[in-house]
């Protein structure tokens, strides 16, 4: 084992912190009714919820990338009051309780909201649709992508970009071939964080999109509902969600190492 490079007194609070997370998860795993586990998690309601969650979280993550990459680039390469204000605004969903986000979304996209009638004219019915779930997830998850990518872009600096520009590369070429590859580890971890946040989204969804099996009832909503009817199913499904989260975190770690290994 290598020499510890941290003061020894840090170990106790570090261990307590780890236990605070580990004990509840372990306790939940121990309380699972394993003999009925497969029937509990493979009921139609459960699989509907799982697939809906995976589908909506994937689409929402794509939307986060579509809007979040340009936002992060703008924020990382500009300074001044306007940039600070824009950053505070974009990161606002990080500090808002999701239910507040849901209420705000109703005021904007709801049937009687600011944009509701315009959307109606366009033939878009957002209320109680899967689209509403995707909007809610994108709203709460995008800041995670923006914050990680902006940090990576700032850390990478502008040296290579400047050199590429002096060598005759246009702004788009520089962005595509220099800026993004340098910030790739940040982009990947930001994407995975955003996906995980989409998967766990609850408050904004139940407030804004409602709860209907196969349409708007994602896995967290199904777990919350099962708590009322069949607590054993709620525990079993929670474990499924933990498993998905663990896979996602594992993905971040392995990817980050391979990427940093490949970066000069």
């Amino acid at each position: 084992m290598t020499q510890l490079s941290v003061p020894k007194w840090l170990l106790l609070p570090a261990a307590l912190g780890a236990l605070l997370v580990a004990v509840p998860i372990l306790a939940m795993a121990l309380s699972v009714d394993w003999s009925n586990f497969s029937s509990l998690v493979t009921s139609e309601a459960s699989t509907d919820a799982l697939w809906l969650s995976l589908r909506t979280a994937s689409v929402s993550t794509l939307l986060c990338l579509l809007f979040g990459i340009p936002l992060a680039a703008v924020l990382a390469r500009t300074a001044g009051t306007a940039a600070t204000l824009l950053r505070s605004l974009v990161l606002l969903p990080l500090v808002l309780p999701p239910v507040v986000g849901g209420i705000a979304l109703i005021q904007a996209f709801g049937r009687r909201g600011l944009l509701g009638s315009t959307l109606d004219v366009l033939g878009l019915q957002v209320a109680f649709s899967t689209t509403a779930v995707v909007i809610a997830q994108t709203f709460v998850a995008m800041p995670f992508l923006v914050i990680s990518l902006e940090g990576a872009l700032r850390a990478a600096g502008t040296r290579y970009e400047d050199i590429a520009a002096t060598l005759g590369a246009g702004p788009t070429t520089v962005f595509r071939r220099v800026t993004l590859p340098l910030a790739l580890p940040g982009l990947v971890s930001g994407t995975i964080l955003a996906f995980a946040r989409c998967l766990g989204e609850f408050g904004a969804t139940i407030t804004f999109a409602g709860s209907l099996q196969g349409t708007t009832r994602t896995l967290p909503l199904e777990i919350y509902l099962q708590r009322e009817g069949d607590p054993r199913a709620a525990v079993a499904l929670s474990l499924v969600l933990v498993a998905v989260a663990v896979i996602v975190i594992g993905l971040t770690r392995t990817r980050r190492y391979s990427l940093t290994a490949g970066t000069p």
Partner: protein, 275 residues
């Protein structure tokens, strides 16, 4: 080097002040708790003859307004007594109690959930029915799709929101659907009756099924429409003393206040009917 050091120093100062800020916040939280303690001590001193007593009541969400009122009346009739409420979905409350939440009295929104509490050996004695509640159709004030009966809820244009079958109001909804011989296609099955009301109140939904008392509580924003099939699902609310009650005598007194004439008046004013 010295530049670096100052930089480090100011960074450290900043992080420590952040930590100090957090600790201060935490202290405020603790302080608030301590405040409550001082209050009760003060109360105890002011009425030295009667010792300070606290009663904890777990009650269905629909009881929030009348029970808060009954609690206030009870406190003024019993000096030195503090009544604390936890309002929530009935099944959720029973789950909390079986997980060991400390409480003296339980009032649920239907008999099925009280039966669960009895089966889990949480209740002491026989639960007493004290009010009943029926479903009503709720529509926004302007009734955009012109709902006037239960069958109107099956109109394709109507966005209807109901409770999920797992919660008491959803079970009642299923019962009236069966009685009317219709099959609702809701846009959403909500977790609680207040969520249904909220979606109708905000105009997100065109109609919903909630309790009469919920409509009464939101008068002005929404309209209630009676329907004959509602008789198929009259919810009776039982109240019971809990086996682990710390103050059994006080719990019994509170139950008497709820079932007594004064409590019944408050409940009737909120839209509840006799059991």
């Amino acid at each position: 080097m010295s530049f670096l050091r100052t930089n480090h120093h100011s960074y450290a100062v900043r992080s420590w002040s952040a930590v100090a800020g957090l600790l201060l916040l935490a202290a405020c939280g603790i302080g608030a708790g301590a405040d409550a303690d001082t209050n009760s001590t003060a109360r105890q001193q002011s009425s030295a003859s009667t010792p300070d007593r606290t009663l904890t009541v777990f009650a269905a969400a629909s009881l929030q307004k009348p029970f808060t009122q009954i609690g206030k009346d009870f406190e003024s009739a019993h000096p030195g007594v503090t009544v604390r409420f936890s309002f929530g979905g009935s099944s959720g409350l029973v789950t909390q109690l079986s997980d060991g939440a400390p409480a003296d009295v339980l009032a649920t929104a239907n008999e099925a959930t009280m039966d669960q509490a009895t089966a889990a050996d949480l209740v002491s004695g026989q639960p007493t029915p004290f009010v009943s509640n029926t479903l009503q159709i709720v529509v926004p004030q302007d009734n955009p799709v012109g709902i006037s009966s239960l069958t109107d809820l099956t109109k394709p244009a109507a966005k209807v929101v109901v409770c999920a079958p797992a919660v008491p109001c959803g079970a009642a909804t299923l019962a009236v659907e069966r009685a009317a011989g219709i099959d609702l296609k809701p846009a959403s099955e909500e977790q609680s009756v207040t969520d249904v009301l909220g979606k109708v109140r905000s105009g997100q939904a065109d109609a919903g099924l909630v309790y009469l008392t919920d409509v009464a509580g939101a008068a002005g924003d929404v309209k209630g429409i009676d329907f004959p099939e509602a008789k198929a699902a009259v919810n009776t609310y039982p109240i019971a003393r809990l086996r682990d009650a710390r103050d059994a005598a006080l719990a019994t007194q509170f139950m008497a206040a709820v079932t007594g004439p004064q409590g019944q008046d408050v409940l009737k004013a909120a839209g509840f009917a006799a059991p």
